[in-house]
């Protein structure tokens, strides 16, 4: 080591200089700001999830309350209107559909079938099928949806009521309350009884507000399909946020001045599976592409031009030879650079969908969950934090500046999904959504935090199978 170096090192390496006053206060306030920034971003990301949970749980709770009220009404009605006496062969069938209880909101049987039965002779009425599940749908009590005490009392009540309708030897009914049921009335005693059934079932039908039009596909109305495939596309609005860590806003200002948003989009596939009453889980793959335009003008750019000079050698007024020379000339000027940047991300969504309301045409669901980023790619140019000149951001480029993370972690997803039932197994989806990315997409070594929040409108189709 050089002697000068050694002297400087020995004297300065462990030297303590005076600490400027107030510098700790500045650091403390900067750290507070950073902490505040974390907290201020958190509500946005959590709010969507909380909102979805509140809406879901609230709706779910209200639905449960309604179910209890309807239990009494319907069963009382049934007990009053169906003083049916049946012979010993009458039986209840509990296995006609492998249908989940949740799918039965109303009649699936045709009203005309009931009327047809009443006009026939007793001997002809051998097989009037009334979907018990449908008639007493609100009485269906699903395990897990009520407490044990409620469950027991409801079951007792239900048994008691039904025992007024159904002969005592049909004890199997009480054990099959939790399954879709169908009453097979194989024989009826007389026409009077049929008329009674007819008139009283009308009351039940009115009480249940049975739709008179043909049913369309809806998770609550027709045959149950527990799987679905969504395909969607969205035009996206990108809310880009750059925040400076160092206190020097030069880089941030330059980046904001040189980058402008362009049309961005996302598309994906989602598989869905019905896991319970109104609840579906979805997962799949989502591709998003954020497009930006990078425009930079270098006012002090110069180009090297090659000038070819040809000298002619004359002799007696005639050209006898020529000499070609090549010179490089530096031409000062400015350079305008336009690059189209692309930020591509591939995410795996893990979503829960709760159907808030539905009729035979439409259903409205709330969707919430997370998306796990599995890969991100970027291509284009930005202003370098080191030179404040344009630099490639693609990792594959030789002069590429590694600024962005390979994996962006978890983002929060929330949406309202409106489905129009096109056919029995096909829905059209309109789904306004927000995807909030809580963490920076840039590396910690980069002096700017960069975040992308995405807002868009998914348009797609849902195929149920």
């Amino acid at each position: 080591m050089n002697e000068i170096d050694r002297i400087f090192k020995n004297k300065l390496n462990n030297h303590h200089s005076g600490i400027p006053e107030g510098i700790w206060d500045n650091i403390e306030s900067a750290l507070d700001k950073q902490q505040h920034r974390v907290w201020s971003n958190l509500p946005w990301s959590v709010a969507a999830v909380i909102a979805v949970i509140i809406v879901s749980v609230g709706s779910f709770w209200i639905q449960d309350l309604n179910s209890y009220t309807e239990i009494g009404n319907v069963l009382h009605q049934t007990s009053e209107i169906l003083p049916v006496t049946t012979n010993k062969n009458n039986r209840l069938s509990s296995d006609l559909h492998n249908q989940d209880n949740s799918t039965a909101d109303s009649f699936t049987g045709k009203e005309s079938d009931l009327y047809a039965g009443t006009s026939a002779k007793i001997s002809d009425i051998t097989h009037i099928e009334v979907s018990k599940t449908d008639v007493v749908q609100p009485t269906v009590i699903r395990p897990g949806h009520i407490s044990k005490e409620k469950d027991a009392s409801a079951t007792d009540f239900t048994n008691k009521s039904l025992n007024q309708v159904i002969p005592a030897d049909m004890n199997s009914f009480s054990t099959s309350l939790f399954q879709p049921l169908m009453v097979n009335i194989e024989t009826l005693n007389d026409n009077l009884m049929v008329n009674a059934i007819r008139s009283n079932l009308n009351q039940v039908v009115k009480g249940l507000k049975m739709p008179t039009e043909p049913f369309k596909a809806c998770p609550f109305n027709v045959d149950y399909r527990d799987k679905s495939l969504d395909i969607y596309y969205s035009s996206d609005y990108i809310d880009k946020k750059l925040s400076d860590q160092s206190g020097d806003a030069t880089l941030k200002d330059m980046r904001l001045a040189t980058e402008s948003p362009m049309y961005s989009f996302s598309a994906g596939l989602r598989l869905g599976y019905n896991v319970g009453y109104r609840w579906n889980l979805h997962t799949g793959i989502n591709y998003s592409q954020i497009n930006e335009k990078f425009e930079y003008t270098d006012p002090e750019s110069s180009k090297v031009r090659i000038v070819i000079i040809k000298d002619y050698i004359y002799e007696d007024g005639k050209v006898v030879d020529s000499i070609v020379k090549q010179e490089e000339v530096l031409v000062p000027g400015s350079t305008e650079l336009t690059v189209y940047n692309k930020f591509r991300t591939i995410d795996i969504p893990l979503l829960a969908r709760y159907t808030i309301m539905a009729n035979r045409h439409l259903s409205l669901s709330a969707i919430g969950g997370i998306s796990i980023n599995v890969a991100s790619y970027e291509k284009g140019m930005i202003i370098s934090d080191e030179t404040l000149k344009p630099v490639h951001i693609s990792k594959s480029e030789d002069d590429g500046n590694v600024v962005y993370k390979n994996q962006l972690g978890v983002s929060y997803y929330g949406s309202l999904s409106l489905a129009y039932h096109l056919t029995d197994n096909m829905d059209v989806l309109v789904e306004p959504y927000a995807r909030l990315r809580p963490s920076s997409v840039t590396l910690s070594t980069y002096p700017l935090y960069q975040k992308f929040n995405t807002y868009g409108m998914n348009l797609g189709v849902r195929y149920k199978f």
Binding site: W24, L31, Q245, E386
Partner: protein
């Protein structure tokens, strides 16, 4: 060596508390190293205000990235590296350019280090601060931090030859300034 204890807490305990967001621990940690790091910043900065900015930004990065400290090397060395990197970026942002000259014209003068030993630390810092940006960076990194020319070339994005020539020029300028000081003094 007995562990450094500040306000009844060892460095390890202070670090642990810092990670939990204990502001007093962060303050203790800052004052534990701020004096030394201020000297580092003064060596890289052109003036005192710039050194303050470097120190402030450097410590914000230290606290922000504290979770990444692996406890493998000395904590002081880790802090110093962050401060040095912050200082380099600060200086580069001011868009100085390295004087890229070959070694041909550079002659290493006969040195008279005795005069240097008579100077105080503050005077030495002032001498370094007066160097052109490129010379100052290379001299600091090579002579005091102990980086090799190869590492400097990668860190500052310059040729190794440039790093060598700038180091020689820095030494010569420093020597000339010391000689001038003594000539005036005599």
């Amino acid at each position: 060596m007995s562990p450094l204890i500040v306000n009844g807490r060892t460095e390890k305990e202070i670090l642990k508390a810092c990670l939990q967001g204990d502001r007093q621990a962060q303050k203790d940690l800052f004052y534990m190293y701020a004096g030394k790091m201020m000297t580092v910043c003064l060596r890289y900065a052109r003036h005192h205000q710039e050194a303050e900015d470097m120190l402030q930004d450097g410590f914000i990065k230290v606290f922000t990235n504290l979770g990444e400290y692996s406890h493998m090397g000395s904590f002081e060395g880790w802090v110093r590296r962050i401060i040095v990197n912050t200082a380099i970026k600060h200086t580069q942002k001011k868009s100085f350019s390295y004087e890229d000259s070959g070694l041909d014209h550079v002659r290493e003068d006969a040195e008279d280090p005795d005069a240097l030993t008579l100077l105080s630390e503050e005077e030495l810092i002032k001498l370094i601060a007066a160097l052109p940006d490129g010379y100052r960076m290379v001299f600091n990194l090579y002579a005091i931090e102990g980086y090799t020319h190869r590492e400097i070339s990668e860190l500052l994005n310059i040729e190794e030859g440039t790093s060598r020539s700038q180091l020689l020029k820095a030494r010569r300028i420093l020597q000339e300034k010391v000689n001038a000081l003594y000539t005036v003094a005599i």
